[in-house]
Amino acid sequence: MVRKLFYIAGTIALILIAIVIVAFLYGVYQAGLPPKLEVKSLQIDSVDGYPSIIVEFSTDKYGFVFKLFDERGELIDMKMPSTGATRVSLSLVGLRPYTSIMEPKTYTLKAFYDDKEIYSKTMTINGASAQIKLLNYTTKLTVMRLELESLIIEVMNTGDVPLYLCEITCKPPLEVYINGEKAFFSIDGEMVIVMPGENVK
């Protein structure tokens, strides 16, 4: 009787061990499977002064990394989404904030899981373009001297990336020439970011 009980217990123990091993192996197998990544949208925005691509995605598993490459295949930015995240931003200009992309460029967004490519998409942007209008100007009359005090301009971004307007720190900077000579000036508000389709005075 006791032997029979031992036999049954042993059998149960073996079954449990088998279940644990199978579960472990399944876990190992699952861990090795790449995540099911679905990129829902790619949008361009300005994030902390960097023109960036915003990736909205859904996934069943994390641990993958997004990498953004330029047309020469050089890595520009990379981000590993934290668990639960559904969007990440990748800089289109590396570590150069307030840079307006002024010409067409091609980028490739890739996602890697354990060095295995699980997503790739190539996109072309046209760059920033603008319509500039002189709306008004103010003058000051001192003793027989007329001074041009300010220019009020309207800038409409007709491109597809943010346009950064400032005197020095932006690349390229906003420049004003009076009769061909460079004028020194300061922008009201210091830094102006004109998003695609927006116009700013």
């Binding site: 002024m102 009359l141 001297r145 041009l148 005090e149 390229p172 900077p173 420049e175 020439y177």
Partner: protein, 181 residues
């Protein structure tokens, strides 16, 4: 922004962001338009109140103790001007400059000075009696705030021509004034 001193009636403004460039022309023609007044009319320009009080042709001129006449075929024109410094600082008369007398021949004549005239060394009593006394314009004279100063502008023009208008400029920006006779 700026400020930038405007020296011309029109300026070109170029706004650039990288390869994006837009050029605009801004007009200040209204500011640069000359002031047109008639003789005897008081007008204000810059830190001055000015009146061109009179104009006359003279045969003989008395400056200090010296006497002068016009050169052969020419005549002397004296324009009497009064100015008042309405500013808060002393101003040199050189702030009013560029005097040109326009004649019926549409020619412009600049100021003449006594050394351009014929000196009369031994004036007769008639010359002494008929000579017009004048206070020559001296660009280096200072005019205190709130005070009037009078001076004469001397011109020498051909006898067959008549004076039509006086033109001059005021200030660094050369605001032009036209006085019709």
């Amino acid at each position: 922004m700026l400020p930038v001193t405007i020296k011309e009636p029109k300026i070109n403004v170029e706004v650039a962001v990288g390869r994006i460039r837009e050029m605009f022309t801004v007009s200040f023609e209204e500011f640069f338009k000359p002031i047109e007044v008639r003789i005897g009319e008081v007008f204000a320009v810059g830190n001055w109140e000015i009146v061109v009080a009179g104009v006359k042709e003279v045969q003989y001129l008395a400056v200090d103790d010296s006497y002068y006449s016009a050169k052969q075929g020419m005549k002397i024109v004296v324009v009497h001007v009064k100015v008042k410094n309405v500013g808060v600082e002393e101003m040199y008369l050189s702030d009013i400059w560029g005097f040109t007398l326009i004649t019926t021949a549409r020619k412009g004549y600049e100021l003449t000075y006594t050394f351009d005239l014929e000196p009369v060394f031994w004036p007769s009593p008639d010359i002494v009696a008929s000579a017009t006394k004048c206070i020559s314009y001296n660009a280096f004279v200072k005019v205190s705030p709130g005070t009037w100063m009078e001076f004469d502008l001397l011109f020498q023009i051909p006898q067959e021509e008549e004076m039509v208008e006086l033109r001059f400029k005021v200030g660094m920006l050369a605001k032009e004034v036209i006085v019709e006779f």
